[in-house]
């Protein structure tokens, strides 16, 4: 009897300890997050005004604004999306709709996408430099950077679109087939519209990843901080600008401000992505 009470007491102590540990960890994670975001906002918000967003870079970033950097960033993003959207959509359709008819190809594509998703960004940088910049002769350019990023973003985009399409009830496919509809019109008229939320979510995840990327751009799109005149021009992405500013003395205030801009962009995109997934994709799946 006394034995069992002592064991019971010990269990109670363990239970309490674990509870403290769990709450402690959760608290620490939240505290660190608040500290990180708070620090960024505290030091960065003051530096952001219209001039900062619309003026050119001066004295290697210590002064002036980030307008050319923003333009380069969006151009790199545009190149990345222009390439990854069509390739990604088609591949996702193969994986979700035709994997049974092309089992070997689908398995290969799936495996290679898994590997691609795990390739470190600096390795993408090496590859982009060797392939796009040198072998294809594009040099340090927005085009090289955007193409390198599209290789990186593809697995994320494809998986998300694939999930979105798989979530479309198979009832629709049977109904379409029973009406003698071709695969092409099924896709264009039923599946892609019904899978649109998954496509949107994938797009935003991809954009988020591309915006956050730094290492892959160091040796592909380069460091030039002037206004790019064409896609063949070198252009510095926002994230790379932040890194560069930490390497010049007196660059911190503008690094903070650029950091706030980058994180704000990413927050909006990530929140939109998870909102789409939870409210639209989830809602659609539930309703049917």
């Amino acid at each position: 009897m006394s034995r069992s009470t002592s064991r019971g007491a010990r269990a109670k102590v363990a239970d309490g300890l674990v509870q403290a540990l769990v709450w402690g960890t959760a608290g620490t994670v939240s505290a660190v997050f608040l500290c990180l975001v708070g620090d960024l906002l505290w030091h960065g918000l003051a530096g952001i005004d219209l001039d900062f967003l619309t003026q050119g870079v001066e004295r290697t970033g210590r002064a002036g604004g980030i307008f050319p950097i923003l333009v380069s960033t969006f151009l790199i993003l545009a190149v990345c999306l222009a390439v990854s959207i069509p390739i990604g959509l088609l591949t996702a359709i193969l994986l979700s709709e035709f994997s049974r008819r092309n089992p070997t190809l689908s398995r290969l594509v799936g495996a290679s996408l898994d590997v691609l998703a795990g390739v470190p960004s600096i390795v993408f940088g090496l590859f982009g430099n060797a392939f796009f910049c040198i072998a294809l002769g594009m040099g340090f350019s927005i085009l090289s950077g955007g193409l390198t990023l599209s290789c990186m973003v593809l697995p994320i985009f494809i998986r998300s679109v694939e999930l979105g399409l798989r979530a479309v009830p198979s009832d629709y496919r049977l109904a379409g087939a029973a009406l003698g509809m071709s695969h092409t019109s099924m896709l264009l008229k039923i599946l892609l519209p019904a899978g649109a939320p998954g496509i949107a979510a994938g797009l935003m995840l991809g954009v988020g990843r591309a915006l956050a990327e730094t290492a892959a751009l160091m040796f592909t799109s380069g460091y030039a901080d002037r206004m790019p005149s064409s896609l063949m021009d070198s252009g510095r992405a926002l994230s790379l600008h932040i890194y560069d500013l930490t390497q010049v003395t007196g660059g911190r205030p503008n690094a903070y401000a650029s950091g706030v801009v980058l994180v704000a962009l990413l927050l909006v995109i990530n929140l939109l992505a998870s909102w789409t997934v939870e409210h639209i994709v989830g809602g659609r799946v539930q309703r049917v």
Binding site: R100, D171, Y172, A178, G180, K189, P193, V288
Partner: protein, 272 residues
């Protein structure tokens, strides 16, 4: 194995089909991976008549319907053996235009499966797919909606989402959608089983109205309904976990004087 089942099923063997037979099924079998779902089915389906398929759940009625318009192609692991001849064409031979076949053989499913678009779009989609001229879309849509008695109910909200209709209305819209292509044969897989009695009654009267005008194969669990609507009946049964047809013929004959003991038991049990 198949011999033993052949014995057990005691299904009638029919002679080779003649060219004018509407739909002839010979020695048909369906399997899912290693599992045999349906075996040695021989049956002739007549033009302009309603054929009811009855029998317990899981003995292959849905699988049978899926072989007739080759929807079985879409089911992973599903294999079909034997012959199906529709209006003189072997539908399992090479070079069959499956899109055309499915336009000729419409299907209505157990659960309404309208596309997540407007009522109008649901009817336009198959029409556009099969080359209906743009200026005829409205006329043809109205025609089929009138045929299924939906016109008065939905004519003022054709652009509303098809999913906003009630279950019975959705199922009638599914029938209308299948009719847009003027199919020569209409397959219906328990079209009333997800509906309330009122909606069931509406659909049943619709089928009675279509009788003679269309050729229909309908699966139903409701024997009273089968008796009311069917010209012919085929009884499906399970032996050793695989299905087969144990008896088929004129509805009146099968219901009044069933030949197989299993049929007798089934009919008695259902009336029970």
């Amino acid at each position: 194995m198949s011999d033993c089942c052949f014995e057990a099923c005691q299904s009638q063997r029919l002679p080779d089909p003649e060219d004018e037979t509407f739909l002839a099924v010979r020695n048909l079998s369906v399997h899912y991976g290693a599992k045999v779902a349906l075996e040695s089915v021989d049956i002739d389906i007549q033009r302009g008549r309603v054929t009811a398929l009855i029998g317990p759940s899981g003995c292959g009625k849905t699988s049978f319907l899926f072989t007739l318009n080759r929807l079985s192609d879409l089911i992973p692991g599903c294999g079909v053996g034997g012959r199906v001849r529709f209006e003189g064409t072997e539908i399992y031979s090479d070079g069959v235009d499956i899109g055309l076949l499915r336009a000729n053989i419409g299907m209505v499913f157990q659960k309404p499966n309208l596309f997540p678009v407007s009522i109008r779009k649901n009817l336009y989609l198959p029409l556009r797919e099969h080359g209906c001229p743009v200026n005829q879309l409205d006329r043809r849509s109205e025609e089929v909606l009138r045929e299924v008695g939906l016109w008065s109910e939905v004519s003022d909200r054709l652009d509303a989402s098809a999913h906003s209709l009630s279950g019975g209305q959705q199922q009638r819209l599914c029938i209308a959608r299948a009719l847009t292509l003027r199919p020569k044969l209409l397959l219906m897989d328990e079209p009333c089983s997800s509906l309330d009695p009122m909606a069931t009654d509406v659909i049943e009267r619709l089928i009675l109205k279509m009788r003679g005008e269309y050729s229909i194969v309908i699966v139903t669990h409701n024997l009273a309904q089968a008796q009311r609507i069917a010209d012919d009946v085929a009884v499906f049964w399970c032996h050793d976990e695989s299905g087969c047809v144990i008896e088929s013929g004129h509805a009146e004959a099968v219901f009044r004087a069933p030949k197989q003991p299993d049929t007798v038991a089934y009919l008695a049990g259902q009336r029970g």
